[in-house]
Amino acid sequence: MTVLVALPVLLPLAAAGLSLALGRFADVQRILGLLVLGVIIADAAVLLYASDEFGPVVLQMGGWPAPFGITLIADRLSSLLLLVSSVVTFAVLIYSIGQRITDYGRERSSTTFHPMYLMLCAGVSLAYLTGDLFNLFVAFEIMLSSSYVLITRRTTSARVRAGMTYTIVSLASSLLFITMIALVYASTGTVNLADLGTKVAELPRGLQIALALLVVIVFGVKAAMVPLHFWLPDSYPTAPAPVTAVFAGLLTKVGIYALIRTQTLVFSHAETWDLMLGIALITMIVGALGALAQNDLNRLLSFLLVSHIGYMLFGLGVYNVVGLTGVILYVVHHITVQATLFLVSGLITRHSGTVALTRMGGMAKVAPLIAVLFALPALSLAGVPPFSGFVAKLALLQAGIGSGTITGYAVTAGAVLTSLLSLYAMARVWTRVFWGQVKAPAPDPDPTDELVVGTASSSRPMLAATGVLVVSSLVIALVAGPLGAVAGRAAGDLVHGEIYRTAVLGDGSGG
């Protein structure tokens, strides 16, 4: 049973190794990838059921008790995010395979994509599941390093700059991460998260605050919170659609997850966290305004991504069960929807040959299916009911109003404004891309690169994969009731860290 916790990490890692070794057999790579990700979905579902029903599933690696060995733990939050993430990665893999087969035929293998993609999945899974700060660092590095490779794969001159920005900023934040771990270890002598919860509380107050803030910055860079967000809109948009989709959907959320996990388990806040609320407000507004200034579809979506990170920080800032419930719901919703939108953007670009909004038009007539595939997640992102985004947003608004502080009210108002601006941005995309006169596709700006745009049509697997994600986001809305209940319980677990701590350390105090 407990081995199920390690599968989402070890399986893709082993599969990545095999995939690397079998680089010349394209079909084997594809089947291996789909198979492993499929297994992870099932595994995550079981973990979610088990953790919700019987409490966190804990695996002490190597049989060494916590806090000595490395603990993997699937509680409600991590298994929920794991489930959603694996659905997204699965769908994106289908999309990517479809794209490659459409453009290059079945035989052409791509030696790096599949192993790197599996590594990325392993890293994401590990980040969710690990109960150890240093292991979390390792998880981040697996995830990020494979993302570096994916974003610079077959780079063209246009993309190499983006790859640099991304890689360098991520590396800088990784180095801060290591520094933070060193400080943590220097002061507490442990890196087990559950153990840290008790040990950090014994530190002098000033050190606690400094440490908590440093942690916020380290994960804030990954999560793209303003003012640490700059790198994101400069780098994500250039990558091929499936890569951007996974990045946008998952990587920032892993940052958010780490932020939530550490801020609830290791540090604790007695009341509403005004600094975080302020950051949330700025993030929301700066991101939304950034989106309005863009003419590039992918950049617009990237800025919206930043903006909506603000929502998640908002819930964390409120720091109570309602707020955290909202965050969890929002993360679940946003992973799906943001990934979907980038996939749709990929479909649009294939048709139009460009990402410049001003050069597109009339696509609703030419490609009505894409129009539908865009409209639903777009509305969801804008928080329009009855889609998943609305449910999450409502929970956050309730938390904000319920916080009873002026900051809370201000951020709630900001959230409403952001919602309006998001809708405006989406509606503008709609009016420019899908309405108006039909425009002829622009020629492929770089025919030598791997990405085929402007000429090819989208294949069935690509549409199907996007459709699967759209349906997933609808399903999230449909089952929002039970989902909300689970999220609520997960938020309760977060606020009362005892459950996690007991699950990891046992009933004793960790000896």
Partner: protein, 773 residues
Amino acid sequence: MFGFVIAHLLVAVLLPLVARRNTRAAFLIAAVPPAAAAVWLIARTPQVLAGETMTETVPWVPLIGLNFGFRLDALALVMTILVCGLGVLVLIYADSYFARGRGDARRSAPLLLGFAGAMLGLVVADDLTTVYIFWELTTVCSFLLVGQAGISRESRRSALQALMITSLGGLVMLLGFVVLGETAGTYRISELIDRPPTGTATAVAAVLILVGAFTKSAQLPFHNWLPAAMVAPTPISAYLHAASMVKAGVFLVARLGPIFEAQLEWRVPAVVFGLATMLFGGWRALHEHDLKKLLAYGTVSQLGFLMVLFGAGSHDAALAGATMLLAHGLFKATLFLVVGMIDHQAGTRDIRKLSGLAARQPLLAVIAALAAGSMAGLPPMLGFLGKEAAFGAFLSGPAGAAVDAFLVIGSMLTVAYSLRMWFGAFGTKPGLAQTTVKPADLQSLIPAGLPALAGLVLGVAYPVANELADGYATSYESVGKPAELALWHGFTLPLGLSVLAVAGGLVLHRVRTPLTAWRNRLPQPLNAQRGYERITALLERVAVAVTARTQVGSLPTYLGIVLVTVVVIPGSALLIQFTVPGDLRAYDNLMQVPLSLGVVLAALAVLRAHRRLTAVLLVGVVGYGIGGLFIVDGAPDLALAQFLVETLTVVAFVFVLRRLPERFSQADSSKAIRIPKAIIATAAGLFVALAAIGFSSARRAPPEASQYFMGHAEKGAGATNVVNAIIVDFRAFDTVGEIAVLAVAATGVASLILASRYERRRREQTQQQEVRG
């Protein structure tokens, strides 16, 4: 009720499958769900009027109070009859209106049905969250219906404007709902009415909710989206922008009025803005040449009227409001459909081009006359009943008198533009050729005629109307004897006001030409359309300005900001609490001094290096020095790894440097850039060092984990080298991850370096092909 809503939406979702093949069938199929709902509702009327309300709750996300709560009471009944009944008629009308097989038709059928479903859900909602859900659904449907294919820039703009303004209101309203719901602890409207919350929060909620109602119901200053939305096809205007959607705002005020009965913050703005809107809309309608625009401003005016009635918060006003709600829906739908037919058959709806239509289309003229009469408040139409009740509702007190005075002026305007509308459309104008028209078909005439007829019938059968309206009005306690609807109350003041209104209207209609000329000379400081455009332009400006300043696109700046954040935020927290630890020593092992010195010197020298290779070697020395420090520390494993890795790193650099220029390409940047960078870097470096001292001084006990590892390495992990035991056993999982990173990096390097080889190969292939070809 939920079943009906779902049925609407489901059929709407599946309808495109039909619409793709056969648009006619699509409209007729689309008419089925509203028809069924209408029949069912009408069958329910007696029970509802008997006070037997039906409720239904479908939980969605109970945790956050998100439920589908429904309740069929008198107000809901009135609205549902309007929504479903008119829905059926409009769909039948649309079937003949839209040309067969056109994209507009394919799109419109499902959207109209979906809209009907949303509207139905909205009017029977008994939960604030439910209200909001359907509210926004109608907004989205409206956006898509107004924009259609968005071919013209005007249609795109109008659709966007309607969307943005109503969404703005919707979101503010949602905020109000949340405030209200969180204050009262329930989102259920009927519960809120039973136990109305009080206090500042409630007042805030009231204002916020009113904003939503104002935008949706096109009240000043948000009115302008409605006339702009007239670019939509006529059946859509008739349904959305006359009969149903724009009513949502006033409906909401009607629905929630009893909760805020005691709040002045609710009643005063509603009445004031309502009156202003009524007058403004009527005034504008008086000058429009486009029949649709004329009707649209008429709608604005009527919505203002309704806002006054529902916002006033009394039994009598509510009675008048419910009556007018019904009346307006009936006559305005008819008028829009009639205009649609004129447009269709005459090819224009400009009253300056239409002439002599009454003779050629007598039936149409009669239908229009019935509707216009109701609009003007002529007896025995339903409109008359409503208007008279309205005049009667504000008789007490000076405030009431003032309201009444404005209402009368508004009604004069209404009479005037009703006349203008009818004569403009059907009258014979001197000096204008008779307009040639195609005959209207029955499928259009019947849907247009039925509501007009209903207005007449309900006016005559005023007890029925009274019963319907009173069912809602009783949710307010009446002060004296409750008013009743009747055609004849005797010679009362309201009757006099009615007469005054009609007479004034006639006069206004006569002097309309000089009036228009005078109006055109007036300066127009208050133009809502320009205001909207200004605001959006400002938004763009702000967006671009903020983005241009925050997103500078320069990596050094970004990294600088990250570092400044590190120094400022946790750094200040650290500094405030920093105390020099008592056990601070200069060194622990003498060898640390020369090694550190070497490391420091080499590191500083890197900054001054101009040759790449020199810099690399210096960094290598730093690495070897660190390795030396590791040895001194008693970490041979680490030192070994450090030396090996350092060497490999240097070699890797050297491999790459073979191809790169000898010196760094970057010219030395100016002092103005270098110095801030140096300051930031130094501050950040000092922060880390200080933090290292501060944090390491906080630990008192040796780490348990390490003690455990030392105790268990030999027996448990089979190793006397504890570090190795940790690497391959205690924390073997880290090792697995670490080698994964290595594998990834190697793969990435290969993918980057070999890319040029692939490109070269491809280039050579194409060259060869060119040579051959």
